[in-house]
Subunit: 440 residues, 2 copies
């Protein structure tokens, strides 16, 4: 862990720099796999699944029997925990619904937004060592609440062609409508282009390894919308002497165990506190099954002693972390000044893992500084807002001349004509109100 | 104009296909210009402006004097029209604000979304034959309402180094904070990477030619967020015998005059009505200054006679038009079934040009079928939603075991520890409620 004390602002870009990956070669590999799927559909999917997942599948489709079997295999305690988390996630995301409200922008001109669910969404759940059933909840529940008609999910099968039962259980619970045993680039390609078995999605969501991320970025150029650009997960923690060094260490470690490229930053006014955290980390890391991964991530992590609170806020807003834990005494005040972060955890009793699983907020968040411009996944991610307008006769008499003047000045005569013809038909001056005369 | 009568669903993809452009060569040209700007900043911008805009600028910055001069040059009637439109746009976009509401997702677990404006936005306004001051309003007003701190605008200078006064007037009125005389790829590159003079933006908005679109897509991969992918503008009109053929023709023409690649579709139950519209188009097009452009666009346009209303709705949702005009008798009923469209215009007296300029809705909309997954520009486009959560002692006692069970099942021990350590510190069982015992 690298320690910096009151670093000068000029040094920040270097200190806060995220690792850069050269994806040129990766992109060309991924592109050729995507082309295979686009051109040869299911046949290519079968070959690629055999090649990359080491299993020969006659069918990718998860059946009702598969779901039932998964449910019967799953531990009751875990089922209850999943249901509890699901309820919180449902509550928080349902709460994000807004009613349609019409507004009369000027006399007789009515405008409104209508929220419509994206019809078909494709959700990707990575495989690998950890069965990420929590991500199933985080993606499928908001899709169901939004009202998406088709909720397609893909996740890679293991060597026996099996999907982890917790993933299937969570998928069923969350309203996934179709589930396919497909991993990596195969899943992204199938949901982008559609194949004989897999429907084409309108938008693709979900985390993944570098191949999956590269595939999502490539297809987002011309073929399908995606949730957000991705990068390694990251947490920043602001702590002071009122924080608990053991808790802070556990939070840093829970980020570090995600992967060797995880980003971990701790900022504190107190040098002493940072020393305590280091001792706690050394103790806690020993017992972790993913110790090696965590140690690798920690070797790139950053500890910053910073005395000036305004500077701390500025540094955080410059770094724009995915997760931010503020466990200082004045956490509410500091939180009010945060403008760039994905999800923020307040006080000593709100660990990041609460948001990762069960508080109700979404854990699919922008990384790599993208919190400057992107929100995390939320109900809006599954919704489009269509605008509507309707103009009355009187409305057009008043607004029409405005449109005519502007269209004329933009040299768009046909735009003007569309209004002029209508004004002539309804009688331009018939009921011209005094209000209008003042306005133009 | 091609006429189809009750086309079979199998033919739809071919009939509705948008033109495809091979951008491979374009992309490599644009990439090398972007690299120039990234590496050589202002010096490159000056060379490129000289090369592409034919003007040697010592400075790109639009000054207060430039704004004042523009205001003094502009016609009073046009100023009033711009103000009227601006008020409607402001009203509609201000109306999209939502308050922060906290929710207690489970006992003692508080979650909320905070809307925060994107700090620095970059807005591009194309030059060329028409001075698109309406687009200035559509991009800068929502940015100001959202609360963006830095609203950067770029637009190409003419051969004398001048920006059209209507554009500058609208920019000043809408709260643009910095304005640079930069066009095309230069503008996008400058706002993406930042130069000695031009600040780096967090998100870039605005229309443009193929070079601008290619540049936006390229930089969106790794460097900066963009509003949406772009394509030629398009309108679909659903009309019946209660519609006015002259109005419909004027709407089709106002789309067609945008550019030779504009997409225009008319659907009607009545063959007769379509014939009337054709006669009207032939008459109206003769008087248009942009007649040649409109005729070219019309040569690719599509007229569809379709008797079944359910099929009409399905065809529109399949095409997913940028603009949709519904001027049938039962327009409200039809509108309620539309799930894929950018902006919808209802009845006989609501021409598309109303939304292009002054009704209040935004005219920056997804094209090329992207309305299936994207909204048009709206207040949300300038805002990120940061989630916050805070858990009380009792809250963690209840939620903690849920997190522990889930983290354990995902093999993420450090995630579990972050909760376990806290539960041990506050006393896991001290106040465990009967409610919790039932739940886990």
């Amino acid at each position: 862990m690298k320690l910096f004390t009151n670093p000068d602002k000029k040094e920040w870009p270097l200190i806060l720099a995220r690792p850069l990956f050269d994806v040129t070669e990766l992109n060309s590999k991924v592109k050729s796999i995507l082309d295979e799927i686009k051109n040869r559909g299911d046949v290519a999917l079968k070959e690629l699944t055999n090649k990359f997942d080491g299993v020969n599948l006659s069918d990718f489709v998860v059946t009702e029997e598969d779901f039932s079997l998964a449910e019967s295999q799953l531990d009751d305690q875990l089922k209850k925990a999943i249901s509890f988390a699901a309820k919180n996630i449902e509550k928080f995301h349902s709460f994000q619904k807004h009613d349609i409200k019409k507004i009369e922008t000027s006399h007789g001109v009515f405008c409104w937004q209508k929220q419509v669910a994206i019809e078909k969404v494709g959700l990707y759940i990575p495989g690998g060592s950890a069965p990420l059933f929590s991500t199933v909840l985080m993606l499928a529940l908001p899709a169901r609440i939004a009202g998406c008609r088709e909720i397609i999910m893909c996740s890679p099968p293991d060597k026996n062609g099996i999907i982890n039962p917790a993933i299937l259980y969570a998928a069923k619970l969350s309203g996934v409508t179709r589930f396919f045993k497909l991993g990596g680039v195969q899943a992204i390609g199938a949901m982008t282009y559609g194949t004989e078995t897999v429907p084409k999605a309108d938008k693709i969501f979900g985390p993944g390894n570098q191949y999956v991320m590269a595939a999502k970025q490539l297809v987002s150029m011309n073929d399908v919308a995606i949730d957000m650009p991705a990068g390694p997960s990251e947490v920043a923690i602001i702590a002071d002497d009122s924080s608990n060094a053991s808790f802070v260490a556990s939070d840093l470690l829970s980020q570090a165990e995600h992967g060797p490229d995880s980003q971990v930053i701790l900022i504190s006014k107190s040098h002493n506190f940072i020393d305590e955290v280091k001792i706690q980390i050394d103790m806690q890391v020993q017992k972790l099954p993913r110790k090696e991964i965590a140690l690798k991530a920690l070797s790139n992590s950053i500890l910053i002693v910073m005395e000036d609170e305004t500077q701390i806020i500025e540094l955080i807003n410059t770094y724009a972390p995915e997760h931010l834990i503020i466990s200082t005494n004045n956490y509410a005040e500091m939180a009010s000044k945060i403008i760039n972060a994905g999800s923020v955890f307040l006080g000593n009793l709100t660990p990041e893992s609460a948001g990762d699983y069960a508080s109700g907020t979404n854990h699919t968040l922008p990384t790599n500084g993208w919190t400057k411009s992107y929100s995390g996944v939320n109900l809006d991610s599954f919704i489009k807002k269509i605008t509507f307008q309707e103009i009355t006769t009187d409305g057009l008499r008043e607004l029409g001349p405005v449109i005519e003047a502007m269209a004329e000045a933009e040299h768009l005569q046909a735009h003007k004509n569309a209004v002029t013809l209508r004004l002539e038909a309804i009688g331009r001056n018939k009921y011209q109100s005094p209000r209008l005369k003042n306005k133009l």
